[in-house]
Point group: C2
Chain length 226, copies 2
């Protein structure tokens, strides 16, 4: 019997590498994107293409209008996305309230529908130390909760939340994906990417991506708008 | 300083009673409905009216198209909603995968945005013993996870998940709301209610509501279509 997993796929570098790892581990992968009213729609387009390249299962998109409740520069038009270096806050304004909890909860629902016993999520505690929901103790608590939440869990089918990137920095993630033959030209990281998927080059996310490719000693296939 | 809470409000009997309890406990209430592609749209209309009667804060609705991933009679058009007594399964087909987890996660995001330190949810372990995500141990695990998930939690502001109805049966819930002066004529419970909010009278939910009013010795204000 093949192992099934749900992979949360944003179309960015981390989640795409996570999908490549899940596939490499022999999982039958069901990809899921959450469209939560974020500004980087280009990522969602990228995720469809990436999913198609890796798995025959249909890519699913669940829309959640988190902009209805606001609270983040990524979903709230009244808060500007800062350029790299503009903010010294421990937790950045690009933090989306409870984002990974909402993502994992939706993945949990999908895992139950397809009968998957694992959810892959590409969180990393290294580059995103300001995000509470990227830490191992949070992931562990979610897994405990998830196994009490569902029909499958109650019937004894253990579900695992797998975070293959949690101890890796950006350059190590890129090296891992490169080793697995993944084409990073398909991914979009930029918080303000345009509809053609071209990156702004100045936001936090662009900064970390560029530094990651430099540190990995690999060519950056990102297309920049300027 | 006033206590703030988020109340998950479906427009049904349980969640409405829960809101009345939160208000009675002195909370400044922020109501949230999740529109997850369920068939009973009438409940969402009811929730707006109920919220307006109880709190001056704007009622929020977050849309989540769970029908994109399927798996329940409440969101999947390929699965029929059974009449009462049609099914003997331990977990009914009206169970929505990971529903309360998705609801609580969204409420967690909203709690963080408004600075609330409590979330009220009207789950009851008595009438819904078949739903794993209505049990106290599940709620406790969610609370533990939630306090590791958010900026507020990390900064030491404890969030509580409050379930005032968890040990009450339907008649006790109705007696509680009646005691608090709540008007159940505003609520809609039916899984197949029409757009005017009239109930079918034959589904599981209608059955339990009718029995609840009978056992409570109170007049049932439900409007039936037939």
């Amino acid at each position: 019997m093949s192992k099934k997993c749900v992979v949360l796929l944003s179309g960015g570098l981390d989640s795409s590498t996570c999908l490549a790892v899940a596939k490499d581990h022999g999982y039958d992968c069901y990809t899921l994107s959450i469209d939560y009213g974020q500004r980087h729609v280009a990522e969602l387009e990228a995720s469809k293409t990436i999913a198609k390249n890796i798995t025959p299962n249909p890519h699913k998109v669940v829309q959640i209008n988190l902009d209805a409740i606001g609270g983040s520069a990524l979903t709230d038009d009244d808060i500007d996305v800062p350029d790299y270096g503009d903010s010294n806050d421990a937790i950045p304004v690009t933090y989306v309230p409870a984002r990974n909890t909402i993502f994992l909860s939706t993945a949990l629902a999908y895992a139950e529908v397809v009968g998957a016993n694992a959810i892959f999520i590409g969180v990393t505690a290294v580059d995103y130390s300001g995000y509470p929901d990227c830490r191992a103790e949070y992931i562990q608590a979610f897994e405990t909760m998830a196994n009490l939440a569902t029909k499958a869990g109650v019937e004894g089918q253990k579900l695992s939340i797998i975070t293959p990137l949690i101890d890796l920095d950006k350059s190590q993630i890129i090296q891992l994906g490169h080793h697995l033959g993944f084409d990073y030209g398909l991914t979009v990281s930029c918080y303000s990417a345009n509809r053609k998927g071209e990156a702004c080059g100045v936001c936090d996310s662009c900064h970390y991506r560029r530094k990651g490719f430099e540190a990995a000693g690999l060519k950056d296939p990102t297309r920049y708008a300027s």
